[in-house]
């Protein structure tokens, strides 16, 4: 339970009872990190197996990164048909906050909860770096504690991270303010219009390639103004969703 975790930042705000599901597919790598991020933000992390048909009454869901089903067909393509995903699609359409990180973002596009898709990085290499991003939309369920235009740094690690969509879809995303994050300084994978993350019309579903769950605890995050490995910009995703649940 959340009470056993050290220094949850949101516990004092009286939202420690929030339960956030973290789905594990075969090949998911970052489910434990995501669950830890949830607990550090002050909520209870609930493990959900891909074969589960129930989301166990969670208040929000995280689809973590990794290589679900080995990315055998296309990244995220087979996960989309996992029993847990049917429940996620229903819940997302009902307004439940859903965050897809990296492979989880790819699963969300394959499940048609978000438009576009990801293909191999334009330079064909795996990339792993501390990535600077600009927050473009601070009104989603997962970004409401950021400011629009804020620069944040969180890790990025992918091979298939090039966001693509047709021009009409890109114009629509831009016009409706649904680009949530843009790469800052350098576009690490050739993504169209430097897009790093997007949201759905309602703002409850967010997907991004970089990894907020790896920047949630001082000493284990990217470099920041406070010092090496001090960056905790990723924690704001998880505290944001807790405030969106409180104000829902």
């Amino acid at each position: 339970m959340s009470a056993t975790e050290p220094a949850p930042v949101a516990a004092a705000a009286g939202i420690a009872e929030a339960r956030i599901g973290v789905i594990t597919f075969p090949g998911t790598l970052d489910d434990r990190d995501a669950a830890r991020a949830v607990r550090l933000a002050g909520a209870e992390a609930v493990s959900i197996w891909h074969a589960d048909e129930s989301l166990q009454d969670v208040d929000a869901v995280v689809l973590p990164g990794g290589f679900s089903y080995g990315d055998y067909l296309r990244a995220g393509a087979i996960s989309r048909f996992a029993p847990a995903m049917a429940a996620v699609v229903d819940a997302a359409k009902g307004g439940m906050p859903v965050l897809g990180i990296c492979n989880g973002f790819q699963v969300l596009t394959e499940a048609h909860l978000l438009p576009g898709s990801m293909v191999k990085n334009d330079h064909l290499h795996f990339v792993c770096r501390e990535q600077s991003l600009i927050v473009e939309n601070a009104h989603t369920a997962w970004t409401n504690e950021f400011r629009r235009g804020q620069q944040i740094t969180i890790p990025l690690k992918n091979q298939d991270g090039q966001f693509v969509a047709d021009e009409r879809t890109l114009d629509e995303l831009e016009g409706e303010g649904r680009v949530v994050f843009r790469y800052d300084g350098w576009n690490p994978n050739g993504s169209r219009r430097d897009i790093a993350g997007i949201t759905n019309e309602r703002g409850n579903v967010v997907g991004l390639m970089p990894h907020p769950e790896h920047a949630v605890e001082p000493g284990f995050g990217p470099a920041s103004a406070e010092g090496p490995r001090a960056g905790v910009d990723g924690l704001t995703f998880f505290t944001s969703v807790l405030s969106s649940l409180v104000h829902a």
Binding site: L73, R74, A77, I78, F81, T109, E110, P115, G116, S117, V119, K120, N121, D122, H123, L124, Q162, V164, A165, D166, G190
Partner: protein, 95 residues
């Protein structure tokens, strides 16, 4: 036993980084004739009986829903291997 062959290619407007890497490697082996390469996927779906029109229809649906992602890929063909010359035996064409 029947076999349905499904071929999927990246959409023309989507940059195909894999094909780009291959076209870059060809001249190093002396193949200077080829100015472009696009890399796609071929699926062979096996069925116990004959490939009926119903089986082909199911294969088309599978191709559109699982085997390809319409955002980045086109299904370029769904065919009964027995109806395509050189495909029936399933043996690769030798050089």
């Amino acid at each position: 036993m029947g076999r349905v062959v499904v071929e999927v290619m990246p959409k023309p407007e989507i940059l195909d980084p894999q094909g780009k890497a291959v076209v870059g490697a060809l001249p190093r082996l002396g193949f200077t004739q080829f100015s472009g390469v696009r890399q796609g996927k071929r699926f062979e779906l096996e069925v116990d009986g004959e490939v009926t029109p119903e089986i082909l229809a199911a294969a088309r649906e599978a191709a559109a829903t699982l085997l390809s992602n319409p955002v980045i890929e086109d299904v370029v063909s769904v065919s009964d291997a027995a109806a395509v010359p050189g495909e029936a035996s399933g043996t690769p064409v030798s050089a």
